[in-house]
Amino acid sequence: MLQERDWCDMADDPTTVDDRVDDKTARAADALEITRRELLVIGAFSAAAAATPPAEAQAQARASTPPIRLPVMSKLSLTVNGKAHALELDTRTTLLDALREHLHLTGTKKGCDHGQCGACTVIAGGRRINSCLSLALMHDGDSITTIEGLGTPARLHPMQAAFVKHDGYQCGYCTPGQICSAVAVLGEIKAGIPSHASADLLSRPKATPAELRERMSGNICRCGAYSNIIDAMSEVAGRQA
């Protein structure tokens, strides 16, 4: 997980932004003052570097053909939204891709695919996780709940209904992840799990807006529906209390 939105750092500080942009532009220009030949050499080097780990480089020196690793298939079972599935997948398949591409549960979304945005949030074994940063194989035998398992258009989960009522979305792409996360967050607060926003580690946390904001920070909404999401969650939390 890289630090996301590094470009925001510059915009966040209005006093220095012009300065820094000028500075960076100047240095980027400096960096471009290399010869065409140097560029080609660098390009060739980095391409070789990226493609050839040391062990493979040695193998290549011995054989003229580069070693090719063939995909490995593996069997696993997943219980998704109460339904058991037997699968045979390439070991590289993430839980997210298993859900979307193999079980055709496309409610769970692929946003960044690197654990930075939260669009892929599902509940695995009772805990919310980023399904993009988990191999399906690591969940062999696990029970997974996706947005499709929380409610249906005819019978919405209370959190889904609250998102609709409070307009907790605009484009809707992050919404399945937001809702799975929101449901799990209220469970975490109920279980007494503290957060960075908890003033006191030894008291039971409460579903205050500050707590909800901190706990939802792993779900990014580019449309900026954050305050409505907090309203939706607060309503559900209030009903549960």
Binding site: C8, A50, L133, L137, I193, P194, L201, G218
Partner: protein
């Protein structure tokens, strides 16, 4: 991602044997860092040994009054453990300041210790990086280095270790227990787990190939006020520019470790003697030998100011 074979280890011995059998094999626990790096083909293990079946997921009281934390205890569970919250608050606070709820639900204790740097030049395979490709150079030096290290860095690498948890463990004098493929068990101070880059920044830890972390042990509680203060570009879900883990006693003595400034948690025991005299006195010793770049020199003043805030908070805390 390159293809790989996969197996689930049944015991620590099974895991180390599997890792020793396949050159380049990697252990996978939570996977939140390793899979990210595999997608970018920065890590290309031919074989993964999944540790999910090992147990090692309990926090247990030790006879000496300390705690033994299994290597696979999730970050969420460690932060929420009632004993950790009561007696090792700095560790709970550090864990809760890191990552997001989703990631803390997956990330493990040992995985957090062994996570790799978030230096953007390490992540960008088009850039030179001595850590990713030994001998290729360092694009961070002379590049955009606002996030980078000011202490313990070298001419080969200025990357930081990104963990919050490890900074608190350093302040707590934690030790790490490991087992090697030959069955040998050893413990080492968390202070000695990470290596400074020197001329070999790709060698990041003192662990031998196939060596597996099985637990982290905390000595018996030392009391005092525990504070973890993390300064970052956003209020949540961002890596530290500077972080301070502190345990301050009522007489003003205590311990301080820094995060976000070095390739490992930074603690200078000799400098801690100055704690009763205030932040400035400590900072002089803590930051001795600092080598900032033009872009991250601000971290030096930020360390002093953050420590000042931490000491004020500790002083104002209810007894």
């Amino acid at each position: 991602m390159r293809p790989f074979s996969y197996e689930r280890a049944r015991s620590p011995a099974d895991a180390t044997a599997a890792a020793a059998r396949v050159p380049g094999a990697k252990f996978i626990a939570g996977g939140t860092n390793l899979l990210d790096l595999m997608k970018l083909e920065i890590e290309n293990p031919p074989h993964l040994v999944d540790l999910g079946g090992l147990g090692l997921d309990k926090v247990e009281a030790k006879p000496d009054g300390g705690l033994r934390i299994g290597a696979l205890v999730r970050n969420t569970d460690l932060a929420a453990d009632t004993r950790v919250r009561r007696d090792y608050g700095v560790l709970s606070r550090a864990l809760l300041a890191g990552a997001s709820g989703q990631l803390r639900n997956k990330a493990t204790t040992a995985g957090n210790l062994l996570q790799r740097t978030r230096c953007p030049y390490f992540y960008d395979t088009n850039q030179a990086c001595n850590k990713r490709q030994p001998g290729s150079g360092c694009s961070a030096i002379g590049g955009f280095s606002r996030q980078h290290g000011v202490l313990g860095v070298s001419d080969a690498c200025i990357a930081t270790h990104p963990s919050d948890m490890t900074v608190a463990m350093r302040a707590l004098d934690a030790t790490v227990e490991t087992v090697r493929p030959d069955g040998k068990v050893r413990t080492l101070p968390v202070a000695d787990l990470h290596r400074l880059p020197g001329t070999t920044p790709h060698v990041e830890t003192a662990l031998a190939p196939g060596e597996l972390i099985t637990a982290v042990e905390l000595p018996k509680p030392v009391g005092g006020t525990h504070v973890y203060h993390k300064v970052r570009d956003r209020a949540s879900y961002a890596f530290a520019l500077v972080s301070v883990a502190a345990i301050v006693q009522r007489d003003g003595t205590g311990r301080v470790a820094l995060g976000g400034v070095a390739p490992k948690p930074w603690r200078v025991e000799a400098a801690e003697a100055e704690l009763p005299r205030g932040a400035r006195a400590v900072t002089a010793g803590l930051l001795a030998g600092a080598r900032p770049t033009r872009e991250n020199a601000f971290k030096l003043r930020l360390v002093e100011r953050t420590l000042q805030a931490v000491l004020a908070e500790a002083k104002g805390a209810k007894p």
